[in-house]
Symmetry: C2
DNA sequence: ATATTGTCGATTAACTTAGTAGAGAAGTCG
DNA sequence: CGACTTCTCTACTAAGTTAATCGACAATAT
């Protein structure tokens, strides 16, 4: 797993939205300023998170974005997989995004990479955005 | 950590060379065939691994490549870091390839990513190519 | 000599990344 | 209504990375 800037920004935004869960919608502009995210880039990110069902939005004067589920109900693994795909180190050991890859040629190597995948996915599936609220 | 084809091929080749450690040099062509790696691509990979000190080579009729250290003395972490860089999920928590990244804005997120980095690097630093010989 | 094998630099096509630009649609308020 | 605000959506792009391939050169063995 290697997070892109897109993925890192998405996680930051989700943490920000989690910290303000239940307090009404947050404006893109405010999240962008607080988290130092290029606003136009953040617009795209929030929109795709909305389309994926993680966020709700409202337009107009009192508009903004808010989580559609409680922070406790959203794992970091979900968001990472949504923004950056596989958590696994190589495609051939990915459970959610399997594809052929060279490592398949060797069972020992495949075993090692599966162990890595399991450690990472267990950690990220066991962490929700509620756990990231200070 | 996400391995490129380059990195996966490098690991496969290192396992192949480990399995034949002490039996004289192996030809690029033979490794390429056994591991199904494009030969010209493998040439590049082995050459950079040689320049990094992991391999020795000989040209000519009985030429080829062999490990310069015993498989037990080479960790998977070294090779992965050499071919694909950071083992960490984001640059800002990488110990070997630190760079600024968006996650730094949030301590909880940074903490989580450090835990992931530690799990992965501990695993890969604790695994040598001797462990991957069947 | 000749065949064999590694060495090396350049090139490339396709893809991904990290944004930016700008117009449009929906909601609020006076 | 009309102005303003905020989200929505598509398109575009510049730069970098990836996964190779090509062809010439250098060393070695027989």
């Amino acid at each position: 797993m290697r997070l892109s800037a897109y993925g890192e920004y998405a996680c930051l935004a989700m943490v920000d939205l989690s910290q303000n869960y239940g307090k009404g919608p947050l404006k893109i502009k405010d999240i962008a300023e607080r988290e130092q995210i290029p606003q136009k880039f953040l617009e795209q990110i929030l929109l795709t998170l909305k389309r994926a069902g993680y966020l709700q939005s409202k337009r107009g004067f009192h508009g903004g974005y808010e989580l559609s589920r409680a922070p406790k109900q959203i794992t970091v693994a979900e968001i990472v997989r949504f923004t950056d795909g596989a958590v696994a180190p190589v495609a051939s050991v990915s459970s959610h995004f399997y594809a052929h890859s060279p490592s398949e040629k060797n069972a020992a190597l495949t075993g090692l990479f599966k162990e890595v995948r399991d450690m990472v996915s267990t950690k990220l599936e066991g962490t929700t955005f509620a756990d990231l609220i200070i």
